[in-house]
């Protein structure tokens, strides 16, 4: 379990992390979502004792990270897959990690296998690795000590769709076995695919948090029937707000079972009924990222 309480990190006048509080529960994958520069990485560095907090606390497994005995045996950390010596082989990096943790060297081969790096690839120097391979190596390094907690900053960066699915399954297994996973991303669809719980951060502040279902729950339904006008009348009669969509069909401010039952009572056959696209989180996220979007378009 990871607990962050009223965390503040300031650089001079600039407040990178502003009164952030959240908990990443054991047995869950918690997604830390926010645009670039929102304070995700800074928060994660504070959690792992690499950056001092100006105020507030961050604990991992109930203890400040720096007080853990042999922290690598409790917490797997991957903050930047590229932060490795380019002139070392992947295997050597894992061997150094295993030496520090005081664990058997066989673990190196096991973890290489888990992340899908071949023996041949492990003997190449990291400068020749693609970003995806570096992420896999970083994940292998994080898993070396058989930790109970994983703290991963942008681990899906550089992975292809198959790689993202693989990571989701791997982290899902880790959480199912009782582990805590906190992973960050600046991409909503990545977090949607991997996380159980979501914490959204923007400009250093938490703007939303909850389970994925809560945050992504559609606020209404989309419905089409053989006679939309009759259906609309039936729905309005129940006091439900209805909007006609330009391309046909109705946008209804009620969940799908309710709409279905009203249509059934009215004897109307439905041709389509589904939850409305979850606009809430995406819109909030777009607002947060609009400043950065300009830069991305330029780049």
């Amino acid at each position: 379990m990871i607990q962050v309480q009223n965390l503040v990190t300031k650089y001079g006048d600039f407040t990178a992390v502003d009164d952030v509080s959240f908990t990443a529960e054991a047995g869950r994958v918690t997604g830390f979502l926010g645009p670039n520069g929102a304070g995700k990485s800074t928060t994660m560095r504070v959690m792992t004792g690499l950056t001092p907090a100006t105020a507030g606390t961050a604990t991992v497994l109930g203890t400040p990270y720096a007080n853990l005995t042999n922290p690598g045996r409790h917490v797997g950390v991957l903050l930047d897959a590229s932060a490795q010596h380019a002139g070392r082989t992947g295997r050597e990096i894992l061997t150094l990690g295993a030496m520090t943790l005081g664990i058997d060297n066989r673990r190196v081969d096991q973890m290489l296998e888990v992340v899908g790096l071949t023996q041949k690839e492990s003997k190449r120097r990291v400068r020749n690795y693609s970003l995806g391979m570096r992420q896999r190596l970083g994940l292998a390094h994080a898993l070396l000590g058989d930790p109970k907690v994983l703290i991963l900053d942008e681990p899906a960066n550089g992975l292809d769709p198959a790689g993202i699915r693989w990571m989701r399954d791997l982290l899902g297994t880790f959480a199912d076995e009782g582990g805590t996973v906190l992973l960050s991303s600046h991409l909503l669809h990545e977090i949607e695919r991997i996380a159980d719980d979501i914490v959204v951060i923007g400009r250093g502040r938490i703007v939303a948090q909850g389970t994925k279902e809560e945050l992504l729950r559609p606020s209404g339904s989309m419905v089409r029937s053989i006679d939309d006008q009759k259906l609309q009348a039936a729905l309005v009669a129940e006091g439900i707000e209805v909007t006609q969509m330009p391309g046909g069909g109705l946008s209804v401010d009620a969940d799908t079972p309710r709409v279905g039952s009203i249509a059934f009572s009215a004897g109307l056959m439905l041709t389509e009924l589904r939850g409305a696209d979850s606009q809430g989180l995406e819109e909030m996220f777009l607002t947060l990222t609009s400043d950065d979007a300009r830069q991305e378009a330029a780049a």
Binding site: V77, Q84, H85, G102, R107, S130, L143
Partner: protein
């Protein structure tokens, strides 16, 4: 379905399919033990030589020493004392080895491995202590290598009928050992103070060239005798015991060029944010 995804994927791996129902992450039975200092020293020593740059550095150093001994063997049929051979092999090492000390400190930041190092051992002082120890050990190992190569050179000279006595001077060996250790520590101290490879290397090598300029200013000449390490360490390789004043000069220059940068460096490493 995985094949459909795989056909558009840039990079598909068997592991993409390896995670399935019933997959378990392998666990470890070894109980959690604290990270011992001996372990850290071993790791820091290994890190100084396990990179591509580190490997080549050792190879080049070996070649330079071999060339130096070969030159000795050509000059006057190689008829020199063991001490002369030891100087020939030890001096190139003393010049180059401090670079490994510099890199040990700076690479953590230039290659950003500090993120891993300090995540696995948050007590940064212990890492610095391990680096100090490993650097001293490396210096001592270099002295042993220099002695062995010098002996090899002198043995070849013996086969060719050298007349000069071996003259194994213990004062010289002790002095050369101390000098080697001081030089590699100076390298590490500069590395820690700058935390930047080019700045540390340039400063380290520019100092012995720039400091003698002090002798051009009359009122700095005395001070120069006390602060230039290359001057104050010179008696160590003369094979005579140092006088009290020579020790005092050595102490002052060591405090200035090893002590001060080391204090600055430790302070910076302990406080610096790791990014």
């Amino acid at each position: 379905m995985s094949t459909a995804v795989g056909s558009t994927a840039v990079e598909t791996r068997p592991a993409a399919e390896a995670v399935h129902k019933g997959f378990h992450l392998p666990s470890i039975d070894t109980p959690v033990s604290p990270v011992g200092f001996g372990r850290l020293v071993r790791i820091e020593t290994r890190k100084q030589v396990d990179t591509l740059a580190g490997r080549w550095f050792l190879i080049v150093m070996g070649l330079v020493v071999a060339v130096a001994i070969a030159v000795m063997l050509f000059v006057e049929q190689g008829d020199h004392s063991y001490s002369a051979y030891l100087q020939a092999s030890g001096i190139p090492l003393a010049i180059m080895l401090p670079v490994l000390g510099i890199l040990s400190a700076t690479q953590e930041w230039s290659q950003r491995t500090a993120m891993t190092t300090f995540a696995l051992e948050p007590r940064r002082g212990r890492i610095v202590a391990a680096k100090l120890t490993s650097t001293v050990l490396l210096g001592l190992a270099a002295v042993v290598v220099a002695m062995v190569l010098a002996a090899g050179g002198r043995l070849i000279a013996d086969l060719r009928g050298a007349q000069t006595p071996w003259d194994m001077d213990l004062a010289l060996i002790g002095g050369a050992t101390l000098m080697m250790v001081l030089f590699v520590l100076q390298g590490l101290a500069f590395g820690l103070a700058f935390l930047n490879t080019p700045a540390a290397i340039v400063t380290y090598f520019a100092l012995p060239t720039l400091l003698p300029l002090m002798t051009l200013v009359s009122w700095l000449q005395t001070a120069y005798q006390w602060i230039d390490l290359s001057v104050t360490t010179a008696p160590l390789t003369m094979g005579d015991a140092l006088t009290g004043e020579q020790w005092a000069k050595l102490a002052v220059s060591v405090a200035l060029w090893i002590g001060v940068p080391l204090v600055i460096g430790v302070w910076r490493v302990l406080r610096r944010e790791v990014k």
